[in-house]
């Protein structure tokens, strides 16, 4: 079977892996590198539970082969909190605004919202809803997820203004 040696930088750490060419990126991240924060929900590219941040793009890692990501820099939910252990504003927002119930979609929601706020630090409610249109949640009805992202956007703006 065709195999390739690839290098991935995940949450700042360099990983060399020998992978099958047909191996999906989510399997490499979860099963070879043991970062199980990104989830497999639908395995068809609909639900967004496997969303990661890859070279400045939100990507569904069940829809990409690991070999395609060779050389890429990736952030997963495990890389969201700060080095001192304090939570990222989005993680804090999801806690404060009750943005999760079962939590299965949350890693994908937060990594997606991370890129959304990088591109648009002051989104309207409509822009948040459009921005997370690729992430499904079957618990919350989305209201509190939108509030959580609004909370994080505000915190990040306050932080930005202070710096």
């Amino acid at each position: 079977m065709a195999k390739s040696l690839i290098t991935l930088t995940i949450n700042g750490e360099v990983h060399e892996q020998r992978v099958d060419d047909r191996e999906l990126l989510i399997h490499t991240i979860r099963e070879r590198i043991n970062l199980t924060g990104a989830h497999i929900g639908c395995d068809t590219g609909h639900c967004g539970a496997c969303t990661i941040d890859l070279d400045g793009r939100s990507v569904k890692s069940c829809m990409m082969f690991a070999v395609q990501a060779n050389g890429a820099s990736i952030t997963t939910i495990e890389g969201m909190a700060h080095a001192d252990g304090t939570l990222h504003a989005l993680q804090e927002g999801f806690r404060m605004e009750h943005g999760l119930q079962c939590g299965y979609c949350t890693p994908g929601m937060i990594t997606r919202a991370y890129r959304l706020l990088k591109e648009n630090p002051n989104p309207t409610e409509a822009e948040i809803r459009m921005g997370i249109a690729g992430n499904l949640c079957r618990c919350t009805g989305y209201q509190n997820i939108v509030k959580s992202i609004q909370y994080a956007a505000e915190q990040l703006r306050i932080k930005e203004a202070a710096e």
Binding site: R22, V59, Q68, A133
Partner: protein, 316 residues
Amino acid sequence: MIPGKFDYHRPATKTDAFKLLLDAGPDGRVLAGGHSLIPMMKLRLATPTALIDLGHISELKGISVSDKRIEIGATTTQHELIQSQELFTACPIIHETSLQIADPQIRYCGTLGGNIGNGDPGNDMPAVMQCLDAIYTIESLKGSRQVSARAFYRGAYVTALDDGEIITKISFVRPPTGHGYAYCKLKRKVGDYATAAAAVILEMSGGKVQSASITLTNVSDTPLCATAAAAAVTGTTLEPAAITAAVLAAEAITNPTADGRGSAAYRTRMAGVMVHRALELAKERAGDIGATSISASATGAPKTGKAGGMFGWLNR
């Protein structure tokens, strides 16, 4: 779901890609965004033995807007199309269409070349490219040729593309400043293909339509050029009777299948409704050259005017 086995190749130039594709034979496939091909591979409906990844060939990327023509590299992503201020200024129907394709994550990967080249009748860009009368540049080791978007589609997943060929570039005449445009798409939910959709480009002068182009998505096994519908509005002020004539002419050429999106009769009728809305919206926008900023809509709701659009309720 695990796809079948294949060899992965990552060429850095077009020429290397053509060679690899030729060497791979009939079971070789090019990989662009992969968001149509990989799901098909997971279901083993596609079982290529070699994948040639076009994602790292810089000469296939990029948007070039001049006074006369617009050229877009085939692996330019939907996200890049949405983010391009100069493309939005010159030809905003592309921005409007890209925002209605799939979801944000998929738009970071999905490419214009993949959307037009796959031959899937549900894809949105083929009809928009027909509306703009675009030319596809197709290349292989044998050389380069140009095919009109209006002559490219032969049937569902059947196109003018031969073995060993790759679409490298899409180009079209820059529509005149102040043209009216709209891409109206009815879909059941985010990420769905169109129940029916219509693209309209028109030029108004003295309150009358000077020229019009109307095309339809997903109501036949290929995109459709509604030339009779366009003729029905040319020279008119787009009064209700003219719009009704165009709607009837557009409905007459549809040939949809019944599926989860509705019966054939319903989808034909929805194609008419989309033509109606797109004409009214294009008329409203024609002559209006104020559309110069994408800041509000780059990651947000498409500006769909009075048609409202999917998120219109949020803005009311």
